[in-house]
């Protein structure tokens, strides 16, 4: 992809992502906020694609757009009273100022730092090396195993929390 198309695509995606994120918190209707969240997930997947992380992009769409968003929407449909979000009230201005200050500090940090740049070219094939890295040694084998235990504990916790009293 030529440099200019790449940049245009990136900034377009980034702008849509920020707009969608703002939509999630500004829209009063919870259902519309959820739809806005889906848009955000999709643009993030697009940014992953631009970074040559094709597998991650697919997983992002499958899990976040496919599963999590559906879950959120089902939850909204089941709780009829919660269609309208809580208005923020007076705290809105404080929260806004804090958020803006945070954005300012982080933007200052990002602009003024020389970040580490990798010199290795992006991989052509990503799935196989990723699998080797996740389940191989040396690699993230231990972390994957801990994540498996994490899922088990989440299931146990869910069973205990939703039990009949």
């Amino acid at each position: 992809m030529p440099e200019i198309t790449y940049s245009i695509t990136f900034y377009l995606m980034a702008a849509i992502a920020v707009a969608a994120a703002l939509g999630v918190i500004i829209l009063r209707d919870v259902f519309r906020a959820a739809l806005s969240l889906i848009l955000l997930f999709m643009t993030v997947a697009g940014i992953y694609l631009l970074l040559h992380a094709d597998f991650l992009a697919i997983v992002q769409i499958l899990i976040y757009v496919g599963a999590i968003s559906v879950l959120i929407i089902v939850a909204i449909m089941l709780t009829r009273d919660a269609r309208q979000g809580q208005p923020l009230g007076k705290i809105k201005w404080v929260a806004g100022i804090v958020a803006l200050a945070l954005i300012g500090v982080i933007a200052w940090g990002v602009i003024n730092t020389a970040f580490y740049l990798s010199s290795t070219p992006p991989l052509e094939e990503t799935v196989k090396p990723l699998g080797n890295l996740l389940f191989g040694n040396p690699g993230y084998m231990l972390t994957s195993e801990i994540a498996a235990v994490l899922l088990l504990s989440a299931i146990l916790g869910a069973i205990a929390v939703i039990r009949e009293k």
């Binding site: 940090g109 040694n137 972390t143 801990i146 235990v149 146990l156 916790g157």
Partner: protein, 489 residues
Amino acid sequence: MIMEHIQFIAPEISLLCFALLIVLLDLFITQKRVLPVLSVIGAIVAATFIIVIWNTPPVGLFDKMISIDPFGLFFKLLILAATVLVILASHNYVLKFNKFQGEYYALLMLSAVGLMLLVSAINLITIYVALELSSISLYALVSFLKDKKSSEAGLKYLILGGVASAILLYGMAFIFGLTGNTCLTCIAEYVRGMPFKDLQEVPALMIGLVLIIAGFGFKIASVPFQMWVPDVYEGAPTTITAYLSVASKAAGFGVIARVLMTVFGLPVWLHNDWAMIIAVLAAITMTVGNLVAIVQTNIKRLFGYSSIAQAGYMMVGLAAMGLTMGTKENVTGGLIFFLLSYTLTNLGAFIAIIAISNKINSDEIEDYNGMIKRSPLLALGLTICLISLAGLPPTAGLIAKIYIFSGAVNMGLAWLVVIAVINSVISAYYYFKIAKAMWLGTPVTEEKVDASWPEWLALAACVVGVLALGVVPGLFMNLTTAAVRIFGI
């Protein structure tokens, strides 16, 4: 290569196996009393494995994912001890959720596995996953009672915990972006090689550092990340409150000390910077904790604020630790000894509270009036723990405070120690308010309060520990200095 490494994570694996065994057995057996016995055996087996590998030289395992060193092993033993004591103290409490005892014990042990991995993790990814493992189990455990307060506490803990995780991840992302590494020692190498003289020249490092301190600050309940503490402590099952206030906090201090000391330990300007952040936070934390604790009438809320204040004292030790990097001084033992003393003391106090509240069904301090007539031994045990929390002789609390404060004075933090001493005096007021109610108040009824034998056993272990640490601290100093000698690789 993998098989050689497995022996070093045998403690975690065995504890996990016992947790799974409990979940499975729970399906088939009707005699639920077997489950706590199994959990205690599991913890003892894990502790045995730790003692077996105690003397091995520090190694990094699984491609620098976790490290086996005395520092991590000490914290693992501490977490296991806290888990055993909480399981013993749960003996009567679990009857409140009769059918779900299996899940309760299994989640408690899974959370302990997460905390044990957390204190030995030397990679940002392992740290995050282990932290989530312990937190997810705790979210469920906090809302285990399923009444209004417990559910609210669980939800608050879940949401605020999620925010804290996000902040921590954001900080880690900055550090990773700057250095291109997730392993702590690799990051440290990169940071030491940077040609800078001031934190302001590398804003990403500064933001990363602040966000990471904020993320862990939630776990150790430091002000201003303490807002979840009172509600969660009050709403959670009292046994889980006890667990949160010791095991989760101790592991939080273990991981924050490791990250700050390894990654941000050198060069000198860097650790001076974060030590000052921690010192200022420590002063605010203990003052806020102590002042708000004075007006509390619910004993669980009071202990929530008291645990915030105690975290403030521990942060004094952490700040002093930061300042010692690169010097010949070693004040790290102070923090370790304080954590050991705090764990035993706070657990002892909570075990007495659990036994009493099981009987009187109330957590209000005024209902503790005249407890000395209704149960002399429970009241005495609780009083000894309160004396230790206030930091008076002949208990562990005094030695721990002397140890931590003298280290801080040596490192030039005299102003902080003055604030800490004033705070200790303030804290004595509300600790003795409970003691006064128990010893001088007139009881509402003459009905006796008794505890079950596992509760007595746990309380006795804590009280003996508190007194032993206070009378012959020399015996334990060796252990704590051994624990800090080596910070992994």
